[in-house]
Every structure is written in structure tokens, then in C-alpha cells.
Symmetry: C2
Subunit: 148 residues, 2 copies
């Protein structure tokens, strides 16, 4: 086996597709690896990358995130109304977003298996639910007056 460096592993996938290994790409991947399963907006990623490489443009980050999504390395999720958030594809988890306090709860994908089966049987629809958060109220925010 070659490199143990996970950054270079992903760069390798990019090369396999005829893509080039650039500093901006390595930096973007590094940020995503370092923050693990957090939910970073594109802007978060941009500012983290700029700490090391101040001249990288936002558009470059967006383009690289799109490339990484095509590769299947990265996914983006919509939490509420704000910007999309990006994270590495790995553990498939679904997001519960509290519409009062903004808290995000991660739920393993297996929790959705029974629902998935029911929708497959009844509607022939195969869900792939991670792309949007499920809204609701967390324990703390229940029993208070409604808001939005």
C-alpha cells in the first residue's frame, strides 16, 4: 500500500479522474478532515482555508467542493434556511434540526430503515434522506410558545 495520508488518498482519486493536485484542493480536503463530521458552511471552509492560503478565492472552494461531491467524497446538507453545509461522506447520518434553538442532532441512518421499507413498498420510492434536515423541536424547546 502506498500513502497513509488521507489527504493524498483523496488527491489520488482526483488524479485518477484526470484532475490536478493543487494547493487549494489539498487545503480544502484538510479542513474537511480536521473538522470531521462537523457541519461547515462554504464560508466556514473558505475562511479556514484562507488562514493558510489567503489568496484562494471563494469560487475555487465552491468549485472544489463540487468536484469532491462528484467524487463521492463530500456531501452537502441543508440545515434550515441558511447556507448549505458540507462534510465528508462516511457514516450515513440524518440531521434533526430544532427550529427554535437551532440545535442539530445526528441520528444513525438505521433509524430510518422501517420508514424506508414502508415507502419503498407503498410508493416504490427509495429514500436517500440525508440531503435535508428534518425540522422539529428538541426536548428543551418543547412546551414553549411557538416561533419560527
Amino acid at each position: 500500500m502506498a500513502t497513509a495520508d488521507p489527504v493524498e488518498a483523496i488527491i489520488g482519486k482526483i488524479r485518477d479522474r484526470g484532475g490536478r493536485a493543487t494547493d487549494a484542493r489539498r487545503a480544502t480536503i484538510r479542513v474537511l478532515l480536521n473538522t470531521g463530521q462537523s457541519h461547515l458552511s462554504a464560508e466556514d471552509i473558505v475562511s479556514q482555508v484562507k488562514l493558510q492560503h489567503p489568496d484562494v478565492a471563494e469560487s475555487t472552494i465552491y468549485r472544489n467542493l463540487a468536484t469532491l461531491e462528484e467524487l463521492g467524497v463530500v456531501e452537502h446538507v441543508h440545515l434550515g434556511h441558511g447556507p448549505s453545509t458540507y462534510h465528508l461522506t462516511e457514516d450515513g447520518h440524518q440531521h434533526l434540526l430544532c427550529e427554535r434553538c437551532g440545535k442539530v442532532i445526528e441520528v444513525p441512518e438505521e433509524t430510518f430503515a422501517p420508514l424506508a421499507e414502508q415507502l419503498a413498498t407503498t410508493y416504490g420510492f427509495r429514500i436517500h434522506p440525508r440531503h435535508f434536515a428534518i425540522m422539529g423541536l428538541c426536548r428543551r424547546c418543547q412546551g414553549q410558545r411557538r416561533a419560527h
Copy 2:
């Protein structure tokens, strides 16, 4: 009982809150009633309203939709990446969106009861899922090459 007109019934709720009855509001409500449970974007609504009242501004429609949401008469849903879609609050249904062909399937909220109960027990989270569509693949689009 007073008016049987559903437009005036909603206008009545607006008045109860100290709001005024205006042409733009009546027109907006009329469009939503006429199209029933369809999924109209703000732009769709604007252009429908403009057929009768060409001078109504987009911003007015947005403001009135917000007012109607505060009243609980209207809800908006995010189907995929495009604009929000608005419809009357009534039957609580969840949306399944095919990420290949864009087809929208409506599913009654009861289908989600077991999941809701599980999440409530395990995480103390009370879901209110209608705000975002669940992504996936419809029957026709399964078994083809992936896309996004």
C-alpha cells in the same frame, strides 16, 4: 353564520389581528385557494396575481405570504434546491422528491408516526417534518446510473 366565502374567512383572521383587507391580499389568497395543494413558488404566485392586478409588487407578495404563515394559514416547503413553495396549511403531508426526475410524491403524515415516536423516545425530539422534502429516487428512476 356570516360569509361562506373562504377568501373572506381568511381576510377575517387578518382583520382580527389588526391587519387590513387589501386587494393584493385577497388576490394572493385566491391564487392559493384555486390551486389547492399544488406547490407554487413565490414567482408562480406573483405571476398569477399579476394577471388580475398587474401593479402588485413581488415584495408585497412575499410580505403577504409571510403574514399568512404567521397566521398559520400558509406553509412553505423546500423541494430540492430551487425556490420555496407555498401552499395552504390543511392536510399535513410530507413530500418525497425524486432527485433524478424531480417528481414530487405526497405522503400522509401518519406514515411518519412510528418514526416520530421512536425519535421522541430516543432523542426527545418532536419532528415536524413537512418543512423539507425527503430526497430519493422514484420507482421509474431507480436502476439507472447515478446523477445529481
